[in-house]
Symmetry: C2
């Protein structure tokens, strides 16, 4: 025990010494920042940083130490840069992301597009975000909605991006990459699925249930109890209600929001049939304009990693070393590149935060195709 | 310029000094390891580490430095621990994950279960991995396959986990959490979708196409060109071929592997109709036994993060600080906990690697419900 105490004392001494040097280094870093502010020099000098890592790691006697030293100084230099960005910001020098800040989004006279027929959950999300009397219209597919805001037919699109039980709506992630449209807001809607049939129908009459594949999946417990019922996927929950109405077949039912039952004159056979009674969907509000609310505090980005070992590790290190709180990370395959991925990260922060500037600068330098999807 | 040179010289001096102290610290760390080896003490002492971070960060004059110091020493202590695990391993002390190592998996007399009907891609994956004459049978659902290996009816299950264009098969990720079954191998199969109908049918006859929802999604370009054709989801690609055969309706077609056309006596109307001509699916081989091949070099785990700010950041730091190469990261919602996530990480390494032991130890300490899904 005494041995351990002594060793720990030595470590404590070394650590105090490291802290003293670290503080001194940060202090000099401030002087470097001032120099850069005066001369307009760039903060991130990858060549110098690489040379430095090379030189310092050569002081190590073995591979383990070499690796440790590289890691240590990657972090120290990242923190140094962060400090320099902070001072530059204080001096009014900001490397701006090209987004126009507004106090609030302009909803007056806005035309809004959602996917699906009347009564879709997307319509409910739209009315909740933009108000009951907003000027909305519907299209057949999410892609059509993206296309309409791209060409100016609509100002905003409302798209489901994630369900609390089924996970992400992967197609909309992919569309955010394909189109130069930006997330400007979000709206969470509670999803309660109702089973609905023709007036007079009973559950025992039902042989076929139509709905969106995600809704069918969310009601799997119901189908486990009714193994004789066929599930058929259609493009939208509300469309299933429309189909049941149009077909006029008593053996058919749809799964949709209770609003759809009202709209199409159907009867709710059973309410809240989803497995998870606490089910919700997050919708994003998308615009073709690079705008953001001044009080936006969340940023969504995506990037591809170079196809080499350790690439994801290096990208995530930019968040870790800058103390940035990642809210979510998703990956999607890159089409036509088997087993290569595009990563989607949501994190807390604003473009004016030095930590954010530092991280984005690093990722932009090292990742393939960094794209800012929006801030909201 | 001269100013900058001077400042950089000072930084270089400080950095050499930090390296010297860092090396000294690692050297003492080796002595601590030897002490721990003698006395059987644990490597990770969270209380001492937290006290140390508290004490060192109190030396800082401002919040920025405080944060920087905490980050710096979290990394230094993680590296120290890694070194200690390394030395303990050299002395034959290994904290073992409870997996039985085997030279190769025992396939003799193995019964293998796959989901879907005869001709499913899962069957193709099974035959490729276990051999043409393996003893396989089919069940209706992925859950049934998991259940069969759990209760010993089968030795291995073959399940699709990810498609190179459509992304993950989320249900199978969730089943890996639900069941105490383990991944012991993987098999990648190239997926070429054929459109098949009754003998004599032409594409112009077709009004309805049946297939698995993912297959329908993978052929969206085809459907964009044939807007008059209805898509209907069924549980399995091969099942769509069976249905077309059974219904005997010339207006129906299925999308499945060409093997299915042979099995059900259908005619291929168009080959390789998927958008991505380079389309492949990764299947996992799952067993109820905690076994792993001695040459396994990839580990899959999942964990939930505590519901507090920075939780994901801290989990991923365990990979970053240990220099572990993450191959993939996926997230899935936790059922009944809206907007909380379970993360699935595949990474390179073996349980005997000190970096892996260090990372798993840290994650096990801080995450909720770390689960080792297998090594293969």
């Amino acid at each position: 025990m005494e041995d351990l105490m002594k060793l720990r004392e030595s470590i404590d001494e070394i650590d105090s010494e490291i802290v003293r040097l670290y503080k001194e280094r940060m202090d000099i870093s401030n002087h470097v920042a001032k120099y850069k502010i005066t001369t307009g020099k760039k903060v991130f000098d990858k060549t110098r940083e690489d040379e430095k890592l090379e030189k310092l790691s050569s002081l190590a006697d073995d591979e383990f130490l070499k690796h440790g030293i590289v890691e240590l100084f990657e972090q120290i230099m990242s923190t140094s840069r962060k400090k320099q960005y902070q001072l530059m910001t204080e001096h009014g020098i900001v490397e701006k992301e090209n987004f126009t800040e507004v106090d609030s989004l302009d909803f007056s006279n806005a035309r809004i597009v959602f996917q699906g027929v009347e009564g879709a959950y997307s319509q409910l999300a739209m009315k909740t975000y933009f108000g009951e009397n907003c000027n909305g219209y519907n299209v057949d597919s999410w892609k059509d909605a993206m296309e309409d805001i791209k060409c100016g037919k609509a100002d905003y699109a409302v798209l489901p991006i994630e369900n609390s039980s089924a996970g992400i709506v992967s197609e909309n992630y992919d569309l955010l990459v394909e189109y130069d449209n930006y997330i400007v807001g979000e709206q969470i809607i509670r999803i309660d699925h109702s089973l609905m049939g023709l007036p007079g129908a009973k559950i025992s009459d039902i042989r076929t249930v139509y709905s969106h594949p995600q809704a069918l999946m969310q009601c799997s417990d119901f189908f486990d109890e009714h193994k004789d019922i066929n599930q058929v996927a259609v493009r939208n929950t509300a469309f299933s209600a429309k189909k049941v109405k149009d077909d006029g077949d008593i053996t058919q039912a749809g799964i949709a929001s209770h609003i759809s039952a009202d709209i199409y004159g159907l009867q709710v056979l059973e309410s809240r049939i989803q497995n998870n009674k606490n089910n919700a969907t997050r919708f994003i509000i998308v615009s073709a304009k690079r705008v953001c609310r001044r009080d936006a505090d969340r940023i969504s980005i995506c990037f591809e990693t170079p196809h080499k070992s350790g690439a994801l590790y290096h990208m995530l290190a930019h968040f870790i070393y800058n103390g940035i709180n990642m809210l979510n990370i998703q990956s999607r395959p890159i089409s036509d590149k088997a087993w290569e991925y595009r990563f989607f990260v949501d994190f807390e922060g604003r473009f004016t935060d030095t930590a954010v500037q530092n991280a984005l600068r690093g990722i932009r330098e090292e990742a393939i195709a960094l794209k800012i999807l929006g801030t909201y």
